[in-house]
């Protein structure tokens, strides 16, 4: 059936520049280009274009421009082009609309409504180039109080992980992303001294040498996990929900389950890898406590156990339950968190912005006097170092980045991860495509990103006259809101600008 959808993007080719080298044809994994030998011309199928910009970046003569298609329906504030296109696609297929990455709707971005403080006169600002600045972050339960016995300070031996910078790579499974990407994340985490998260896709044997920089995940599908998996890692994470699709499970389509993936996940080739919506052994906080302690038993209480949920309406109460269930670290993932595949309707409509959820959870745990029982990690749409600084001032111990890390590897957020055709070689298992990420170059790009952000965080610390990230944690006096209503300032626990 011929589709009634308008092409989303236009390919504009400058024929004077084009040398018919066919790079665009080889680079495009969505079959937009083909070569007409008779006329020595490149021809286009624009309806296939996803605007990933692989062709335009690699065109040696800069002959290609990919832009929004000029075709338009009659402008209508209610029936936007997106809503018309989505509806027509569903009328043609009868299916649930799938998409990739995080919510792209113009929800209020609270990071952009928060401003930072700086020292002027009354306490001096610090130059991070000449004075030491501490970004080291320890995740895990902290002691309730100090104990001194026989003149010695005794510290309880709660398990922990140390990070050189409060930025970690969030859970992206091998299967969702290519092996080269997965390896780049592992190597970069190792080089920087932070952590990467395996997600729920198993952990290839040859990458276990990076165990001290690895968080392994136990999600509802329980793929690829055994006692060695937990004990080889530095930290174990129970995934209950993720920001892009709160309340539903995961689903790696059978065509992505290749031989190596099948081995790593320990499932047959070509079979769907379905992670059920809930863990069917967890229907309550008491059940969660049971799994948390099962994993602690399995690791002889030597690994911190974290629990990750999506930012949802009553996240503070749930977080309190998670901490009381024994989680050493809790992770809250906001509505802008990315994914390889999610129903569009959920991605765009379910969950909360992480800024609000984070502040609400931190406040609640402080009110209950249990904030030190667990570290708090937030994720979901962290775009730059000031987002991280603001997150820490709102109460986070550290952040996960996912989409940002993939962008360092080439991602342009075209949102077609679920097709498995990623032209940048990131969310694909096609050997031809996945070679496009060189693990060594990828590692360097990620290391560069974390280095740059860490330097910027030090600049912001110096600016505030603070020399340790510990002194920013939950220090909401560093923040002022602008363009926010009273209730929003109240949830964030910050004052308005000028107050």
């Amino acid at each position: 059936m011929r589709t009634a959808l308008l092409p989303e993007f236009s390919v504009v080719r400058d024929e004077n520049r084009c040398i018919q080298c066919r790079v665009c044809e080889r680079q495009c994994s969505f079959d937009v280009y083909s070569y007409d030998a008779g006329n020595n011309l490149m021809v286009h199928r624009e309806e296939n274009c996803v605007a990933c910009q692989r062709c335009s970046v690699l065109c040696p003569t800069n002959a290609l421009v990919i832009k929004m298609n000029d075709y338009t329906y009659r402008p209508n504030a209610n029936w936007t082009r997106e809503s018309i296109s989505d509806l027509k696609k569903q009328a043609e297929t009868g299916g649930v609309l799938l998409t990739g990455m995080g919510c792209d709707k113009p929800l209020k971005n609270y990071w952009d409504h928060i401003l930072l403080n700086a020292s002027q006169v009354t306490n001096p600002s610090i130059d991070p180039l000449r004075e030491p600045m501490e970004l080291r972050t320890r995740l895990g339960r902290k002691a309730d109080h100090l104990e001194i016995r026989n003149g010695n300070l005794e510290v309880p031996d709660y398990p922990y992980v140390d990070l050189s910078t409060p930025i970690m790579f969030g859970a992206m499974s091998y299967g969702a992303i290519s092996y080269n990407c997965f390896k780049s994340l592992a190597q970069a985490a190792h080089e920087v001294g932070t952590m990467f998260n395996t997600g729920e896709g198993g952990w290839p044997r040859e990458l276990r040498k990076f165990g001290t920089n690895t968080i392994v995940q136990c999600a509802s599908g329980r793929f690829g996990l055994d006692l060695e998996y937990f004990n080889d890692a530095a930290m174990v994470e129970i995934k209950i929900g993720q920001g892009a699709k709160p309340g539903i499970g995961g689903h790696l389509p059978g065509e992505k389950v290749s031989a190596h993936i099948s081995q790593t996940r320990m499932i047959p080739m070509g079979s769907d890898a379905i992670s059920p919506a809930p863990h069917h052994d967890i229907y309550s906080i008491e059940d969660l406590q049971m799994l948390v302690h099962a994993l602690k038993e399995a690791t002889d209480y030597r690994k911190p156990v974290s629990v990750k949920i999506s930012a949802v309406h009553n996240a503070p109460a749930i977080a309190s339950g998670m901490v009381r269930a024994g989680a050493d670290i809790i992770v809250i993932d906001g509505v802008r968190g990315g994914t390889g595949a999610a129903p569009k309707i959920l991605r765009d409509n379910v969950g909360l912005p992480i800024e609000l959820a984070l502040a609400a959870v931190d406040t609640r745990l402080r009110e209950e006097g249990i904030r030190n029982w667990a570290s708090l990690v937030c994720s979901g749409g962290i775009r730059n170092s000031s987002d991280i600084f603001k997150a820490i001032a709102l109460g986070a111990d550290a952040v996960y980045i996912g989409t940002a890390a993939l962008m360092a590897l080439g991602c342009t957020v075209c949102q077609k991860c679920y097709t498995g055709k990623c032209a940048w070689g990131i969310t694909t298992q096609d050997p031809y495509l996945s070679k496009r990420v060189n693990p060594e170059i990828g590692t360097q790009a990620l290391v560069n990103l974390l280095r740059a952000w860490s330097l910027e965080i030090k600049e912001m610390l110096g600016c505030a006259g603070i020399n340790s990230i510990e002194s920013v944690r939950g220090n909401r006096l560093q923040l002022r809101g602008i363009g926010l209503e009273d209730w929003e300032l109240g949830v964030l626990g910050i004052r308005g600008a000028g107050q």
């Binding site: 297929t93 001194i148 005794e154 059978g254 499932i267 069917h280 399995a298």
Partner: protein, 283 residues
């Protein structure tokens, strides 16, 4: 003034190789007796592990009363040789993540027995609670009596690793949901001829692999839409015979075995597709 000495107690674990070098204090051949009365599960499990590290392989634990996670921390040792006999009622998550040891329970068990089990054997001389064998990926579980709800959810298999559960009595709802591999054999009330109080429903919903063999009748409205029903094939019947034989041997029912193994009484439930949700989405 004297400086304050700060001692941070850290638990740097010795490697297993180092631990195994320690003097062997326990005989591997002997059944070591442990009294679990009033012992917290953490202490009980640590004790078993510590003894196993010093050479013990056989454990007889008495007065077990609600202690969880027995067998969970037994890794890195010669775990295939470990045998545990439990007298009493162990708590939830018995043998969670179990990978090798054989556990005999002379009593009933609570919820989530064999949770995400990877290998080994659990024999239950009684009945089991809910979520037995959740996400099980290897090994065998035998239950003499009945089991609760959500049993065998999301079991999976990979190559030669095929987990198997044999249940002597009845099962409840959501049995074998999301099953992706492995096999479950349900023998349905063969030694108590009482009919079950109620039928179970939602059997095999979302099933996309594995097989369930049920001795008795199953109505079409009891199973999920993804489930097909047929008779066991010849090679499958051999598997059923083998496991029913092991079941009877484990619980001393050899004399009833012939009565139990009437092929015409068995139904096989299987996944119609390994891609049950393949047609759900618009791309």
């Amino acid at each position: 003034m004297n400086p304050v000495v700060i001692t941070v107690k850290t638990k740097e674990p010795a490697t297993f190789a180092e631990k195994l070098k320690k003097k062997v204090a326990y005989s591997p051949a002997k059944w070591h007796q442990i009294d679990a009365a009033g012992v917290h599960y953490k202490d009980l499990n640590r004790k078993i592990r510590a003894m196993a590290e010093k050479g013990a392989r056989k454990f007889e634990i008495r007065n077990v009363f609600g202690q969880r996670y027995i067998g969970t921390n037994l890794w890195g040792i010669e775990r295939e040789k470990i045998k545990i006999r439990i007298h009493g009622t162990p708590g939830s998550d018995l043998g969670a993540l179990l990978d090798g040891p054989a556990i005999d329970v002379f009593g009933n068990v609570q919820d989530a027995t064999g949770n995400t089990m990877n290998g080994g054997k659990i024999i239950i001389h009684g009945s089991a609670g809910d979520v037995l064998g959740y996400s099980m990926r290897g090994g065998e579980i035998y239950v003499r009596g009945n089991v609760g709800y959500r049993v065998g959810i999301h079991m999976k298999e990979y190559e030669a690793k095929v987990p198997t559960i044999v249940i002597g009595g009845t099962v409840q709802d959501f049995f074998g949901e999301y099953m992706a591999g492995g096999r479950i054999i349900v023998l349905n009330k063969f030694f108590e001829d009482n009919p079950p109080q109620r039928l179970s429903y939602f059997i095999g919903t979302g099933m996309h692999g594995g097989t369930i063999y049920i001795r008795g009748e199953v109505e079409i409205n009891q199973v999920g839409a993804e489930v097909g029903m047929t008779e066991p094939a010849d090679d499958e019947w051999k598997i059923i015979e083998r496991y029913v034989h092991r079941y009877c041997k484990a619980f001393g029912f050899e004399s009833r075995q012939a009565k139990l193994l009437k092929r015409e009484k068995f139904i096989k439930l299987y996944a119609k597709s390994s891609r049950p949700y393949g047609m759900l989405y618009a791309y």
